[in-house]
Amino acid sequence: MTSSTGPRGAGRSDRVGAIVLLVFALLYGFEASRIAYSFSSDPLGPRVFPMMLAGALALLSVIYLLRPGGAEPWPQGRLLAQSLAIPGLVLAAALLLEPLGFAVAVTILVTGVGRLFGASWRLAILGGLAQAALWFAVFRYLLEVYLPGGAVFGM
């Protein structure tokens, strides 16, 4: 999905989106029709409601396809990379959470996202350390929510 800016491009991503939704509706409906069950105490069973939903989504996606509009232009180049870096950094923090501990993971996350939002390296790192300390204190001592200590603060 890399359609360009401008009304025509936006219309294109609407149409691509509508087709993706339509395909999803069909796949979902197909899966629904193959749900395995031996007995159900009601006349409809577990298949019919999902199949109704598949039908509704298919119908709505066709309407959407015929009347596109309203999509925003996609971010390009650097901005796109930065947008995707946010879930990337969250993923990194999640994966580091158990091995390295909460404090390290949060420092990395806050520093990285801080850079994306325009902080200088110095401020971003300071922010990372400060937020790691703050959130650790809030969760561990004030709210008593369990957080992994990991290699650095592990007991």
Partner: protein, 503 residues
């Protein structure tokens, strides 16, 4: 009328723990509301899992979340007025007259008038809730499975016709939510649906994972793209006490808008942004004789603020009595109750009076706390407008990870949240709103179970859906809602007002 539930509720809400929690909720809510771009729904999504893992009892969690909801409706006006950037979707209209007032050096007065209007709207809304909720729950006792199913149809019809500029996208969002709710074990037949043999999916998609993915990951990505450029905060200077004449002029608009706001709130799914838009347009038509609306008219400021606070209270009526949320934010709160295995409905009044009474009583107390927080202390909250995004956004993400990780103690849940977040971002770029997905999700199981129960009663005969008077009335109301946009389409095109979002 029997209001004993309310007196019992006050004893719950006035316990030291719940008072402290209510105050925390109001304080955080005002803060969240004041922050541009973060609204009540994001705030509740972030704090719900933490409240849940802390082991708070359900009524305390509800008091916390309700405080945040109301507080955010109060706080949203601060950035609308001082920054001309709405603090949340319900405060869009507040900027129209609030910001011009601030630029005329009357920021302090604008904050006071809008704070008072919020209090009037909020309090009248809670009074309405106190009386309507027991009434509606008495009516709803007569609902069988067929009536419930038709009620859901009515809810989606209302949502499609009232929310967003593109009904088709709102409805697609609802259906996606309903589909997500079908994942997991089907209790009636014991079949596993759409689990692809993944044990993680056996219990279905976790509510916390879904809500945080949709409202916080996608929000962070959106904030990166839409970073407010320039936009300076106006200092609160000059007189801070509004002129009496202005306050008196606002009484009528505030009262009328409270009624509009409460009514819109009661309608399923339609939240503060619809209410403030309707009340602003109504008030403009009624009282804007000199054409001063939009140039700093205090009445144009009081109307939407009274309305959005009344809506928040009104939205609890269908949520507590029918289990159908009155707004996107109450949809998240409904999901919170489900985490505690509580299914709201007409029986809730009989079974958990302390929960409903405590919640409603906390709203009365909360309004008073919020008036105090929002009048003398408003300068403190206006400071948060200077909080840079490089501090705010990472903070939101840390809360998201902790919320998901602490409720599920699994890194896999965090990964799933990210997947949902990216899909949410793609949908938002296409112009979809996230709230209908949540509404569909929390209503999905109930809708299906009631349809199947109805047909089990009738032995598969569809006519049971059209038999009782209540069902027929609901079908007619749903049809009326579906036709409504075409009927008023001409009017709307003439007015060309900005279209509201679910808040």
């Amino acid at each position: 009328m029997d209001l004993s539930y309310l007196w019992a509720g006050f004893s719950v809400a006035l316990s030291p723990l719940n008072l402290a929690i209510g105050f925390t909720g109001c304080f955080l809510g005002t803060l969240i509301g004041a922050l541009p771009a973060i609204g009540p729904i994001n705030g509740i999504a972030l704090l719900l899992p933490i409240a849940y893992t802390m082991g708070l009892p359900p009524e305390s969690t509800m008091i916390l979340l309700a405080g945040i909801y109301m507080g955010a409706e109060y706080g949203g006006r601060i950035s609308s007025i001082l920054l001309n950037v709405p603090g949340d979707a319900g405060a869009v209209m507040t900027a129209l007259d609030g910001n011009p007032l601030a630029r005329q050096g009357r920021a302090g007065e604008a904050l006071m008038i809008s704070g008072l209007a919020s209090f009037v709207g909020g309090t009248l809304g809670v009074v309405g809730l106190t009386f309507f909720a027991p009434l509606l729950s008495t009516l709803a006792i007569g609902f069988g499975p067929a009536e419930y199913f038709v009620l859901m149809i009515f809810a989606f019809a209302t949502l499609g016709s009232m929310v967003g500029s593109q009904p088709v996208k709102t409805l697609i969002g609802c259906v996606i939510g309903l589909m997500l709710a079908t994942v997991g074990l089907d209790a009636t037949s014991g079949a596993y649906r759409f689990t692809f043999n993944e044990p993680e999916l056996g219990d279905g998609i976790e509510f916390v994972v879904l809500v945080i993915g949709l409202f916080s990951i996608s929000e962070a990505m959106f904030m990166l793209e839409h970073q407010a450029k320039g936009g300076s905060v106006i200092k609160v200077a000059g007189r801070t006490f509004a002129r009496w004449a202005d306050i008196v002029r606002c009484i009528g608009p505030a009262l009328r808008s409270s009624v509009i706001g409460f009514t819109v709130g009661v309608l399923p799914g339609t939240g503060a942004s619809v209410a403030s838009a309707v009340s602003y347009t109504t008030e403009k038509r009624l009282s804007d004789r000199e054409g001063t609306f939009g140039k700093g008219d205090v009445r144009g400021l009081a109307a939407p603020e009274a309305a959005n606070n009344a809506t928040a209270a009104g939205a609890f009526v269908p949520m507590l009595t029918l289990g159908v949320p009155g707004s996107g934010t109450t949809a998240v709160m409904l999901g919170a109750l489900m985490l505690y295995n509580i299914q709201p409905g007409p029986q809730l009044f009989a079974e958990r009076p302390e929960l409903i009474g405590g919640l409603i009583a906390s709203l009365y107390i909360g309004n008073i706390l919020l008036l105090i927080l929002n009048l003398p202390l408003v300068r403190v909250f206006s400071r948060v407008l200077q909080l840079p995004n490089w501090v705010l956004v990472p903070g939101i993400l840390v809360l998201s990870i902790v919320g998901v990780y602490s409720t599920h103690a699994s890194v896999l849940a965090v990964v799933m949240m990210l997947g949902i977040g990216i899909v949410g971002w793609l949908l938002r770029k296409l112009g979809f709103d996230m709230a209908p997905i949540i509404l569909g999700f929390v209503l999905g199981r109930v809708m299906e179970v009631n349809l199947r129960n109805a047909l089990a009663i009738s032995g598969g005969d569809l006519s049971i859906l059209f038999q009782s008077t209540i069902s027929i009335v609901l079908w007619i109301m749903a049809a009326a809602m579906a036709v409504l946009p075409f009927a008023i389409g001409r009017l709307a095109r003439r007015a060309a007002a900005p279209s509201p979002q679910v808040s």
